[in-house]
């Protein structure tokens, strides 16, 4: 692990200053590594009456500008909690967040709320799944978009309105000047999600976290929104973390993929490798269990069993109880020992099975 040290020059180099308003320059922690976002050993635990829920257990990943990282997993795999930890939304709750998340030289885990407030909206934007509950029903859509601009820029209300109207137009809302004064309930589901995107992007954040941004939408609108997000990302060269359970969405828009199971990353790598050179039994199982528009019908191949309880994670590999190939590793190692995450050329996996064994499993299906 890189030694943490305070180095103002490193911070200045890694955080380009926009001319509109100065960004925070003091950093509690800065690193020498050049990664735009580097998450190391991130864990989140929630103490509850029934015990400690281990929602995220040691996540590691890096992200560069202009890249899209897809985080996939089923419900309860910890993907949303990961994003909430990055946004500092778990601060002030009972959640115990440990590890590091270095974003442009600042550790998002230890950054106090005041520092986080300066980053949120300006440097890191977030799009939530359900735009109806994320928008305030009493304020006009325009007001809510302009608010983000006013908070982070020294601007008059008039300038903020102009910026918001411009942004509404850019996300494809017709007659934005009129729509500015309408309320969320006047908007359709797709338009609300566009408004959410406008709100997240109005300060042109370098990092955008989208948590299931299209799950509540119909496929035709989903396609529009995904196109829009890719377009805007290319325009601003920002980094995008896309959290989804839909492998189809991942295949369409992501450069890199991280597959989560039981709060751990079980496989990560470039999108083509995840789909065509799959190396973890869980990812294999996910891909095999999906009906697609092109597969021949017959029986589907579900993954047997249920996801593990986060209250009592198994001693060994978290996936071992549902893994059909655990016997191949021998000695019951899958049930007794947590596998390490090993990575080769950017494609990593957390499994006791060696590559030859994985290859034979893949070919036997």
């Amino acid at each position: 692990m890189t030694q943490s040290q305070s180095s103002p020059t490193a911070v200045a180099a890694s955080a380009p200053q926009p001319d509109s308003a100065p960004k925070p320059t003091t950093a509690p922690q800065a690193t020498k590594t050049g990664a735009f976002l580097e998450v190391r050993n991130l864990s989140v635990k929630f103490p509850t009456d029934d015990g400690v829920v281990a929602a995220v257990n040691g996540m590691d990943f890096t992200l560069e500008r202009g890249q899209t990282l897809g985080i996939v997993g089923e419900s309860g795999s910890g993907k949303s909690v990961t994003s909430q930890a990055l946004m500092g939304l778990l601060k002030g709750t009972s959640a115990q967040v440990t590890g590091e998340a270095i974003f442009q030289g600042r550790d998002l885990v230890t950054l106090p709320e005041s520092g986080m407030r300066r980053l949120r909206g300006r440097n890191i934007g977030m799009i939530f799944q359900d735009p109806l509950s994320a928008l305030h029903p009493f304020y006009t859509v325009g007001h809510q978009i302009a608010e983000a601009y006013l908070v982070h820029n020294k601007a008059t209300k008039k300038q903020a309105r102009a910026a918001a109207v411009d942004m509404l137009g850019r996300v494809g809302i017709p007659s934005p000047d009129m729509r500015f004064d309408e309320y969320p309930h006047h908007f359709s589901g797709g338009m609300r999600q566009r408004a959410m995107i406008a709100m997240a992007l109005i300060c042109e954040p370098e990092l955008l976290i989208a948590d299931e941004p299209t799950t509540a939408l119909d496929v035709t609108v989903q396609a529009q929104i995904l196109d829009l997000m890719s377009e805007l990302q290319q325009e601003t060269n920002s980094a995008l973390i896309l959290i989804t359970h839909d492998l189809g969405v991942v295949a369409e828009v992501c450069d890199n993929v991280l597959v989560m199971y039981g709060g751990q990353c079980v496989e990560s790598g470039p999108v083509d490798e995840i789909f065509y050179d799959t190396r973890h039994p869980y990812t294999l199982g996910l891909l095999k269990s999906m009906p697609t528009l092109t597969t021949k019908s017959g029986r589907l191949n579900p993954i047997p069993g249920q996801p593990p309880s986060l209250l009592a994670l198994p001693q060994g590999c978290i996936f071992s109880a549902r893994c059909e190939h655990a016997a191949l590793a021998g000695d019951g190692v899958c049930a007794s020992q947590r596998p390490q995450f090993t990575s080769e050329d950017g494609h990593g996996t957390r499994c006791h099975l060696g590559l030859p064994q994985i290859l034979s499993i893949r070919n036997s299906r």
Partner: protein, 340 residues
């Protein structure tokens, strides 16, 4: 063919009146949630009903199960029109058509044990199975992949997939001829979704039940259906056999819908022809004149003045098998869909 059809729907309509008042004057207006839908379903087969939210697919399903009364049209189940049944006749009809709902969390009473929930339809219909009610419920539990000892448990002790199995057990308890499945796997994770889809198919093979499978996930529909019907704004726009429809969709809406499905295959996703619809679904309270799809139709922009006027003035004939509800299908040619 007519003899085999277990279910035949003819010109089914459901219109909801819009309340007008001081603040919203406008006389008597209606939302045409379902407007002239016809199809038939053969014994032991599955009809997939697809479309965007608000297209009327759930309303259609609910009318077939008579959870809603149709405004007009006929619903023939086993040769008998059930659309106007009342009282005792309706009560007896309930055995023939059952329903599986989308949300396994909302469709089970949290204070009722699983056993009681599954027995409820049999109790309501005053059926005493040979061997007793309790034994029959345990049999059903095992049939859907749960255990007999789950009888006394409560819904909160089960996962989403298991709850959906309970919903399935309840639906098959009366040996219905048709089950209307309204988005039965949409709330489930992929790995669990496959388990439930397999279970539905096993039950169909064992009992010969027919399914109306309502879903917005086209890949699941393709997997499970024999016939597929596509709806848009209350109208049937295209229907046909599964293979025909997916291999060569002819209505511009079907094509756009298919091309919008994200494929879990990066190379194919990049190569796929993408037809993007502009805008959102028009309000069903104020649908466009003529062809309801014309405001979003990718074909409309390419048409000549006269052809456009046809779309604006004339409502296309509702789709029947092999003939989509479009004035200009011929123009679009044998469209090679993005799906091979």
């Amino acid at each position: 063919m007519e003899q085999h059809a277990i279910l035949q729907v003819e010109n089914l309509q459901k219109h909801f009146p819009i309340k007008s008042g001081l603040l919203a004057p406008g006389g008597k207006r209606t939302v045409k949630a379902v407007d002239g839908v016809s199809f038939s379903l053969e014994r032991g087969k599955t009809l997939g009903l697809v479309g965007e939210s608000g297209c009327g697919k759930s309303t259609t399903g609910r009318m077939i199960a008579r959870l809603m009364d149709p405004t007009a049209g006929r619903i023939m189940v086993d040769g008998v029109d059930i659309s106007q049944l009342r009282g005792k006749d309706l009560y007896h009809f309930r055995r023939k058509v059952q329903m599986i709902f989308q949300d396994p969390f909302a469709s089970l009473n949290p204070r009722q044990s699983i056993g009681t929930a599954i027995a409820a339809p049999m109790v309501a219909q005053k059926i005493t199975p040979p061997g007793g009610l309790k034994n029959r419920v345990k049999e059903l539990l095992e049939q859907v992949g749960l255990k007999a000892e789950h009888y006394n448990r409560f819904p909160h002790e089960f996962s989403g997939g298991q709850r959906q199995r309970v919903g399935i057990a309840r639906a098959i308890s009366l040996n219905p001829s048709v089950i209307v499945c309204d988005e039965p796997v949409s709330a489930l994770d992929v790995s669990v979704q496959a388990q439930v889809v397999n279970l539905l198919q096993e039950i169909q093979q064992d009992t010969g039940v027919s399914y109306i499978f309502i879903a917005h996930d086209l890949s699941v529909v393709r997997h499970i259906s024999d016939e597929v019907a596509v709806m848009y704004l209350g109208k049937m726009v295209e229907q046909g056999s599964r293979d025909e429809l997916f291999a060569g969709p002819r209505h511009p809406y079907t094509r756009a819908l298919l091309s919008a499905v994200p494929l879990p295959d990066p190379r194919q996703a990049r190569a796929q022809e993408k037809i993007r619809l502009r805008g959102d679904l028009p309000s069903p309270a104020n649908p466009p004149s003529g062809c309801v799809f014309r405001t979003r139709c990718p074909l409309f922009g390419t048409l000549g003045e006269e052809q456009r006027q046809l779309c604006i003035d004339v409502v296309p004939a509702p789709a029947v098998a092999g003939s989509p509800a479009c004035h200009h299908t011929a123009l679009a040619g044998p469209l090679a869909a993005g799906v091979q």
